[in-house]
């Protein structure tokens, strides 16, 4: 094993790291912002409003992320009308197609996570909110969503990690993220072990960063929701 090559090629990894981080963060932020209203409609909306959301979630959870990205990046380029559209300048960019696929994919999973958390709101707490004269919007904003977010946090932290690891697929459409950097180093030096082990370590660092911040958020948000006894077991 020769890790001096990693030292030499560190700038490539660093650029890859930056790309992975912004792709992940942007996908998660866009996905979550879209997912919250969709989840609310999915719970409270009429059948007609729910149908397209169900279809969207069904498609994005029912197909591999790689296929979704290929459909957007390679698939759409096949159509004349797409190439002539004003959006082509965006859709011809690999980063945009990858980000779009990632954001829609994480959105679909997040809709289900948040929907489940909303449905699990205690009926008694909703009743108390109605009984003191809260409007539906106020109740949603002050009672249902805050309590749902707290419940959704453990499942959503998994989704964040899956999304981070999912961005490795971006390397298949010419994007130099961490995985892309590793592939460049691998082919340059013929040393796949060092190249991919370095990538693995970088992903692990990012994962632990996510876990660290979720832990802190859980302590802030959830620790007090648990009976004191549970924390004694830890």
């Amino acid at each position: 094993m020769d890790f001096s090559i990693i030292q030499e090629s560190w700038p490539i990894y660093f650029d890859g790291l930056v790309t992975t981080v912004w792709l992940t963060v942007a996908a998660l932020v866009i996905g979550l912002l879209l997912a919250v209203p969709l989840a609310v409609v999915r719970v409270q909306g009429g059948a007609l409003a729910q149908a397209p959301i169900r279809a969207f979630v069904y498609f994005f959870r029912g197909t591999p992320l790689l296929i979704q990205m290929f459909l957007i990046y390679y698939g759409l380029g096949q159509f004349q009308w797409m190439q002539q559209s004003v959006l082509w300048s965006l859709f011809s960019e690999a980063w945009f197609c990858a980000l779009l696929a990632f954001a829609l994919n994480t959105c679909a999973y997040s809709v289900e996570i948040i929907r489940g958390a909303i449905v699990a709101t205690s009926p008694g707490e909703i009743e108390a909110a109605r009984a003191c004269g809260m409007s539906r919007m106020l109740m949603l904003w002050r009672i249902i969503l805050p309590s749902a977010f707290r419940r959704a946090l453990p499942a959503y932290s998994n989704e964040m990690i899956f999304m981070l690891h999912g961005t490795a697929l971006a390397s298949t459409v010419t994007i130099v993220d961490i995985t892309g950097a590793a592939r460049i180093i691998q082919s340059r030096y013929y040393s796949p072990w060092e190249a991919f082990l370095t990538a693995a370590l970088l992903y692990m660092c990012l994962t632990f960063t996510i876990v660290f911040f979720v832990r802190r958020l859980e302590k802030h948000w959830q620790g007090h929701l648990l009976p004191a006894r549970v924390s004694d077991f830890e």
Binding site: G124, A128, M134, R142, S147, W221, L225
Partner: protein, 255 residues
């Protein structure tokens, strides 16, 4: 002659499917009156309470709170409130204390008490905070301001829920079996708080199984049976000289 009732209901009917739970209830509460509503389970007493603040929508009947009548519109399958804004305003004048406390679990006790006055009544946060602390002191949990509901005993949670109701400064407080979910040794502390409120002259409607409370604290006792009011009078009248045998049997069964 119109008396300025804090609350009045007239001819309230409510069915769930084919089951007619309320068969025409008339009830008025003057200011400062403490009305205990007794009845076996299934008698409709909780439904009556829930119809008063429109958590359940009565099929027929008139509800007035502080002189304001709830506007209803009739649809094919029954009546519905005509104006949800009005319903929300009326509900904010009728605080409710639930059997299961129903504190908001993601908020501290202080946040629970401040929530509705700040966000529903849109009162000044600083003022509300002072009021909330005052009421939490009053119900004896002034040392638990920043504690989450799950860390409190049932009795403490229910007292917090009562403080939450008080902080709305409501016309009437509705109690829906407030001690039924409590361990026996915790019932006393909640009843004591309610007793203090009654002495202060607050208007209260209390659905309860606590005959002692009904007898000693309330100014009026109502006995509900199969959706109708069977007894209505002072505790003395109702307990000493009940009109119906049903009530005598009910009391005997509770003893």
């Amino acid at each position: 002659m119109t008396i300025d009732y804090a609350l009045s209901v007239e001819g309230v009917h409510k069915s769930f499917g084919r089951n007619e739970v309320l068969k025409g209830i008339d009830l008025s509460a003057s200011r400062g009156e403490v009305i205990s509503v007794l009845g076996s389970s299934g008698s409709g007493k909780s439904t009556l309470l829930r119809c008063i603040n429109l958590l359940d929508i009565p099929d027929r009947g008139i509800i007035r709170v502080g002189g304001e009548q709830v506007q209803m519109k009739t649809l094919r399958h029954g009546s519905v409130p005509a104006d949800m804004r009005q319903v929300e305003r009326i509900r904010s004048k009728l605080a409710m204390v639930f059997q299961q406390f129903n504190l908001w679990s993601h908020m501290t006790i202080l946040e629970n008490v401040m929530e509705a006055p700040v966000h529903v009544l849109k009162r000044d946060r600083g003022e509300v905070r002072k009021m909330a602390i005052h009421y939490l002191d009053k119900v004896g949990i002034g040392d638990k301001l920043h504690v989450y509901p799950i860390h409190l005993s049932g009795g403490q949670q229910q007292r917090a829920a009562i403080a939450r109701a008080l902080c709305m400064e409501p016309e009437v407080i509705l109690f829906d079996e407030p001690t039924s979910a409590l361990d026996p040794e915790l019932v006393g502390e909640v009843l004591q708080v309610m007793r203090d409120l009654a002495l202060e002259g607050r208007t209260m409607i209390v659905v309860t199984h606590e005959l002692g409370f009904a007898r000693e604290v309330s100014s009026r006792v109502i006995f509900l049976e199969k959706g109708l009011i069977m007894e209505d009078g002072t505790p003395e009248d109702v307990f000493e000289r009940p009109v119906t045998d049903r009530f005598r049997n009910f009391v005997a069964a509770m003893m």
